[in-house]
């Protein structure tokens, strides 16, 4: 990771500029995201990249860093969206209640799902998380406050009041910047966690679970903690999505929303800090470009995804990092 270990092992040292970027990865990520609305013409797409990027960051914690493939993260994204949506639309709660509540609810759900799913090993994990998320879909569908098939409407947050500052969310650029502030806080938290001994244990589980256990780490505990953290982040992304769209669709809990984040993570680069944002941008680009001339854009999305699995499993950002000796 640092200059020392690079000198110890027979690895080419990272270029100096790149090493700087790595040590300030949160700052670098936020700066790139800050420029994003001016790089792409559509503000709404930029906001979506932000939201799905954050969703990917949360998912990446379990998939990329811990090496466990979950197909049930739509449950956290969707439940976060519904928690924030119901609080805002039906209880009239302010954003500073809705966002933490969404994080909390998604985190508690992740704890419940994690307690069951962590009991299984390896490949079972993907199947069990998928099934449990489907169960959550049915439960929310029948939940009286969720609006069932019609979803939730009227999740309106027009203004955000801070001491000495009022942000008008009806202005797309102001909305983007407000969301970016939330994402920046989340990225800072993720970066701190990854740099901590706990983050080391998470990555150790990916590399060799048996050895991690033999070293005295509580593997089950670490897995569960990472899963909860991941779910909470995805819940935050869901809450932002609810505010962005002023509504929550039942599809946000659907199996395809779980699949979406798997695609985003793999296309961008699993286990990389900024990869999920690259993946989200790439996925939305594919969706935008192909749906211009065919309604069957999913055919191309699926084919491109298969191409990446076969030939670029490290994703766009992961491959770039590898080429520049970053990782």
């Amino acid at each position: 990771m640092n200059a020392h270990s690079d000198a110890l092992y027979d690895v080419a040292p990272p270029r100096r500029t790149f090493a700087h970027i790595r040590t300030h990865r949160v700052l670098a990520s936020v700066l790139v995201l800050l420029a994003l609305p001016w790089l792409i013409p559509n503000q709404s797409v930029a906001t979506n990249i932000l939201i799905y990027g954050l969703y990917g960051v949360g998912f990446n914690l379990v998939f990329g860093y811990m090496g466990m493939l979950s197909f049930g993260h739509a449950a956290f994204f969707g439940v976060g969206a519904y928690a924030a949506g119901i609080l805002i639309a039906q209880a009239g709660a302010p954003w500073w209640v809705a966002l933490p509540a969404a994080v909390l609810v998604a985190g508690v759900l992740a704890l419940a799902m994690g307690l069951l799913a962590i009991r299984t090993r390896g490949i079972y994990f993907a199947m069990v998380t998928l099934a449990l998320a489907q169960c959550v879909y049915f439960l929310v569908y029948q939940f009286p406050l969720s609006g069932g098939e019609n979803g939730l409407r009227g999740v309106n947050v027009a203004q955000v009041h801070l001491p000495g500052l009022t942000v008008d969310l009806l202005d797309p650029t102001a909305k983007y910047l407000a969301f970016l502030a939330v994402v920046a806080v989340a990225l800072l938290a993720v970066s701190r966690v990854l740099a901590s001994p706990f983050g080391g244990a998470v990555e150790a589980i990916r590399e060799n679970e048996a050895r991690t256990r033999a070293c005295g780490f509580n593997v089950e505990h670490t897995k569960l903690m990472a899963f909860v953290l991941s779910g909470a982040l995805c819940g935050l992304a869901g809450a932002l999505a609810a505010i962005h769209l002023s509504s929550v669709a039942i599809e946000s809990l659907h199996y395809e929303t779980s699949g979406l984040v798997v695609m985003i993570c793999l296309l961008g680069g699993m286990g990389t800090f900024f990869g999920p944002f690259v993946g989200a941008a790439l996925f939305l680009l594919i969706q935008d470009v192909f749906s211009l001339w065919t309604e069957h854009w999913q055919l191309y999305a699926g084919a491109i995804f298969m191409f990446f699995v076969l030939f670029f499993p490290k994703g766009v950002w992961g491959t770039i990092l590898e080429k520049t000796h970053g990782r």
Binding site: L69, T120, G302, L310
Partner: protein, 294 residues
């Protein structure tokens, strides 16, 4: 709870058996492929859907149900083998997640391709004339076609069991599931065995789709929900166990049907409750071997 007679419960039990039969066929294929290749086939539901559509299209050309019943599994199996040979084989030895991710992408492509070919709307499928109507099964009248589905399932399972337990090829399959490396050292072409097993598993999934079509109609999305059920059944029964797939498939089908009768609002969640209970008590599944997945 008024109006629920023992007779009604018995009939619903049989409905659950027919439902379970389709689940069993799906889970057996999934389990077979996993036990042998350690590949979780996320496109299994899509193969199920392709089987239903292949039957629909084939019936336009050869309007003979019995011929279609034989041809559809063969067509889907051939397609499955082509997929294994070209797309999945390059991924062996690259970690257990990659074939899973690939088949996940493949399911996307298959669903969209069917949408292009047959349209987004679902289509109704007629029950063959000979199997319309109902039969008296002592507790009451029961749709003949559902009895037929149960019968075909029993025959297919018996055939599979004989194939795996009593033929020399089946011996290779069982040995390959235990230790592919030793089997390869003994001079057996394991790649060919895997190809055939993948074809077998997807062919059975195609047959399940074909059989389910007259009961529920066909739509490009029909594979999605069924994939979840197949996963639940495999987790409950234990991955790689044929007996487990059969017991769990029937269990999930029957419990779901009875739940429709007694607690309709919980019917869709019932299978997840079973799965959660099994995971708490026996994480490796009812008939799974402990440590298979380590």
């Amino acid at each position: 709870m008024d109006g629920i007679t023992p007779q009604l419960v018995a009939l619903q039990l049989f409905t659950g058996l027919a439902l379970g039969a389709v689940y069993v066929l799906l889970a057996v294929g999934l389990s077979l492929i996993f036990g042998m290749l350690t590949v979780v086939n996320f496109a299994h539901g899509a193969f199920f859907m392709v089987g239903a559509y292949a039957g629909y299209a084939l019936y336009q050309v050869v309007p003979n149900f019995w011929l279609c019943l034989v041809l559809v599994p063969l067509v889907v199996a051939a397609f499955g083998m082509a997929v294994e040979r070209t797309l999945i084989r390059p991924l062996y030895g690259r970690g257990i997640d990659y074939p899973l991710l690939l088949t996940f992408g493949l399911a996307y492509v298959m669903v969209e391709a069917v949408r292009i070919a047959f349209g987004k709307q679902g289509l109704p499928v007629d029950t063959p004339e000979l199997l319309q109507g109902s039969a008296d099964i002592l507790v009451g009248e029961f749709p003949l076609y559902r009895l037929f589905v149960i019968g075909v399932t029993v025959l297919v399972l018996a055939g599979l069991w004989l194939f795996i337990e009593k033929t020399s090829f089946g011996l290779i399959v069982r040995a390959g599931a235990r230790d592919p490396q030793i089997v390869r050292i003994l001079g057996i072409d394991v790649a060919r065995v895997w190809l055939i097993v993948f074809g077998l598993g997807t062919g059975v999934a195609g047959l399940a789709g074909f059989l389910a079509a007259p009961m529920q109609g066909i739509s490009p999305e029909m594979g999605g929900s069924v994939l979840t059920v197949a996963f639940v059944v495999t987790v409950v029964g234990g991955m790689g166990s044929l007996v487990g797939a059969i017991v769990a498939g029937v269990l999930v089908g029957v419990v779901e049907s009875l739940a429709v009768l007694f607690v309709p609002e919980a019917a869709k969640v019932s299978m997840f409750v079973i799965m959660a209970l099994v995971l708490l008590v026996r994480p490796q599944g009812l008939f799974g071997r402990a440590g298979l997945m380590n």
